[in-house]
């Protein structure tokens, strides 16, 4: 009797989990007459200045100072390295076929902020002539830990988790970057002028999230027209 009851409960739980998982999954489809979301992220008020990192090791390869890249701001206030993505979308364009890459170059992560999608591959490279150890954390827990002692070495791993991850080097304490991973392919990072674009978006209403490591995060609503572009300009007041 007890055994049957336990079996029944487990079956119901498994069914609920399967249904829930199916409900959360992103479905890749052909996007007919898709639109785009274009815009710019700017900072207003006191334009923050980037910090300078003192290089305490391996100066021969990395120089004496490095920009922290926390605030990479264009003269007109355009913010680089802001992440822009659609928070919830059930179906749309396929996941990118190319892997996400982060390289260790002159004791800095290139790019400083990288984005990707659960299901993509992640490649970590080392271009420098000494060991780097790329250690990626989600809420202080190790997600990936790549020792790269050999120049030119690269490691590929599948992305199985999502969230804002901090990227650090265990051998060079100042190295810090970010990896923002979500579960749909509508994610991008602003360029040097603060511009961004999300293409092949099915027409409809969306909540857009904008995240920056120091300026914080915002949510905005956009309506994407069929075959057209929705404009989204984001302002962080500092």
């Amino acid at each position: 009797m007890l055994r049957n009851l336990t079996t029944s409960i487990l079956l119901v739980l498994a069914l609920m989990l399967a249904l829930a998982a199916n409900g959360w999954a992103y479905e890749a489809t052909q996007v007919a007459n898709g639109g785009s979301i274009k815009g710019k992220v700017v900072v207003t008020g006191n334009i923050p200045q980037d910090e300078t990192i003192k290089v305490t090791k391996d100066n021969f390869a990395c120089g004496d100072t490095l920009p922290r890249e926390k605030y990479v701001i264009a003269p007109d206030g355009g913010v680089r390295y802001a992440v822009v993505f659609i928070e919830e979308i059930k179906a749309g364009k396929p996941l990118p076929a190319t892997p996400v890459e982060i390289d260790n170059v002159k004791c800095a992560f290139v790019p400083h902020v990288q984005v990707g999608v659960k299901g993509q591959d992640l490649i970590i490279k080392n271009t420098d002539p000494m060991l780097h150890n790329t250690h990626i954390y989600l809420d202080k827990r190790t997600v990936y830990n790549f020792a790269l002692p050999i120049t030119g070495m690269q490691i590929k791993k599948p992305i199985r988790k999502s969230g804002v991850m901090s990227v650090e080097c265990d051998a060079h304490a100042w190295m810090k970057g970010y990896l923002y991973l979500i579960e749909n392919p509508y994610i991008t990072v602003t360029d040097a002028n603060g511009n961004f674009s999300l293409a092949d978006v099915p027409p409809g209403d969306y909540e857009i999230k904008i995240w920056h490591e120091a300026l914080g995060e915002q949510e905005q609503h956009v309506t994407v027209p069929a075959g057209g572009a929705a404009e989204l300009n984001v302002e962080f007041n500092h």
């Binding site: 250690h135 827990r141 190790t142 830990n145 790549f146 002692p149």
Partner: protein, 405 residues
């Protein structure tokens, strides 16, 4: 038997209670505090070094954290900026067959300092406070990058494992309580049997050394050479040489490292002459050790697998001031560990040593060590060993508590 069961039950309850309350926190000891990194940055499981830990050691502990107040949530905030850390090793329960169970609390209390002096020079100092005060380590190291090569120099009070970043021989063995016979101070040349946490390093204790070392060929090859003198200030200098090749391997997209190495220790030990009536008379015994070792580490998310093997042969000549009184031995040791989430470890090891000249050195048998780190500054370990020593069967059960702050 009843006491053993009670001990095991107590441990199980302790582990369960601590397991329910434990979280994987940032590390607290001095390295982590100074460099703003968790223990896992340099260790698979303390004190075993991973690839980054080896690099850190070779580059003379010269890293510094940019933002000191980064370690939040650890349980020892007051010590956050201290360059010192404290290690306390205790054996609340230790028993060998034929003897009654005993406790050894604390078995060893030691302070550690490791840190940068200049951008290219660092120091590592370990004064042991109890049971007897002595400097286990007091070394200064320096390094320099030459393109993709790294060269270094280390000098001071240290042993061979203390200078070798590819220290598969010492630190890999140290995960277990019963050390490989070839390294065990108790087992070779009459070391201190009351100091179970101590080492025997190829036939020499209380060493002073100076070693040049470096990594070459795009960080694949580690080479070290230099001299050690031990036992006393009249002890002659011995030669120490070490080579290791490290090969990264990608196995099912997981990073792994295979290190294969060799070591040679050759020289002369000078002892007090027990046969002479002349005060301070000494005699010389030539010693030699040749070894080969491998180490394999693979990390896949929360799972870490390590395997370690050591073969060593040695010869001590003219012992007890008697010409021709030579003792030779051959020894091999293998260990494999599984580490989960840097909190749980299981290590299985097999130790074998054979000497035709001195049957008391003959030892063989397996051991199993189960470890648990409820916090990263607390280690609990239970080890069971079943050895045949000089044809006598001997079983050991040890419960270790290691705290480091």
């Amino acid at each position: 038997m009843k006491k053993t069961l009670i001990s095991l039950l107590t441990l199980a309850v302790t582990v369960l209670v601590m397991g329910l309350t434990a979280t994987q926190s940032w590390a607290v000891p001095s390295f982590a505090r100074q460099f703003g990194k968790p223990c896992s940055a340099c260790h698979t499981m303390w004190p075993r070094l991973n690839n980054t830990g080896r690099e850190f050691k070779l580059t003379a502990y010269t890293d510094v954290a940019q933002d000191y107040p980064r370690l939040e949530g650890d349980n020892l905030d007051l010590l956050r900026y201290s360059p010192l850390s404290l290690s306390v090793i205790s054996f609340p329960y230790t028993k060998s067959s034929g003897n009654t169970a005993s406790t050894d609390i604390p078995a060893e209390v030691a302070l550690f300092y490791a840190g940068r002096i200049t951008p290219n020079v660092g120091a590592f100092v370990e004064p042991v406070l109890a049971p007897d005060f002595n400097f286990e380590f007091a070394k200064v190291a320096a390094y320099r990058r030459l393109g993709s090569n790294t060269v270094g120099l280390a000098a001071g009070k240290m042993d061979t494992g203390g200078v070798d970043p590819y220290n598969t021989i010492r630190f890999t063995a140290y995960q277990t309580i019963n050390l490989p016979s070839a390294l065990d101070e108790e087992h070779v040349r009459g070391g201190d049997p009351d100091n179970p946490g101590d080492f025997f390093e190829f036939g020499a204790t209380d060493n002073t050394g100076i070693i040049a070392n470096g990594k070459f060929l795009n960080n694949h090859l580690y080479l070290a050479a230099g001299g050690f003198r031990g036992h006393s200030s009249v002890d002659p200098w011995d030669f120490y040489g070490r080579a290791a090749w490290e090969q990264p391997l990608i196995i099912k997209s997981n990073v792994s490292f295979l290190t294969v190495g060799g070591v040679v220790y050759d020289g002369t030990e000078r002892y007090a002459d027990p046969t002479s009536a002349v005060p301070d008379a000494t005699y010389d015994s030539d010693v030699s050790r040749f070894g080969a070792d491998f180490d394999f580490q693979m990390e896949a998310g929360p799972h870490i697998i390590e395997a370690f093997g050591l073969y060593m042969q040695g010869k001590d000549k003219d012992l007890d001031a008697t010409a021709g009184n030579d003792v030779k031995f051959k020894s091999y040791y293998g260990a494999a560990s599984y580490i989960y989430d840097r909190m749980y470890t299981v290590t299985v090891a097999y130790d074998h040593m054979k000497s035709d000249e001195d049957p008391s050195l003959n030892k063989k048998g397996p051991s199993i060590n189960v470890g648990y780190n409820p916090w990263l500054n607390t280690k609990l370990a239970l080890e069971y060993a079943d050895f045949s020593i000089d044809n006598d069967h001997e079983r050991h059960l040890d419960f270790l508590v290691h705290l480091y702050f």
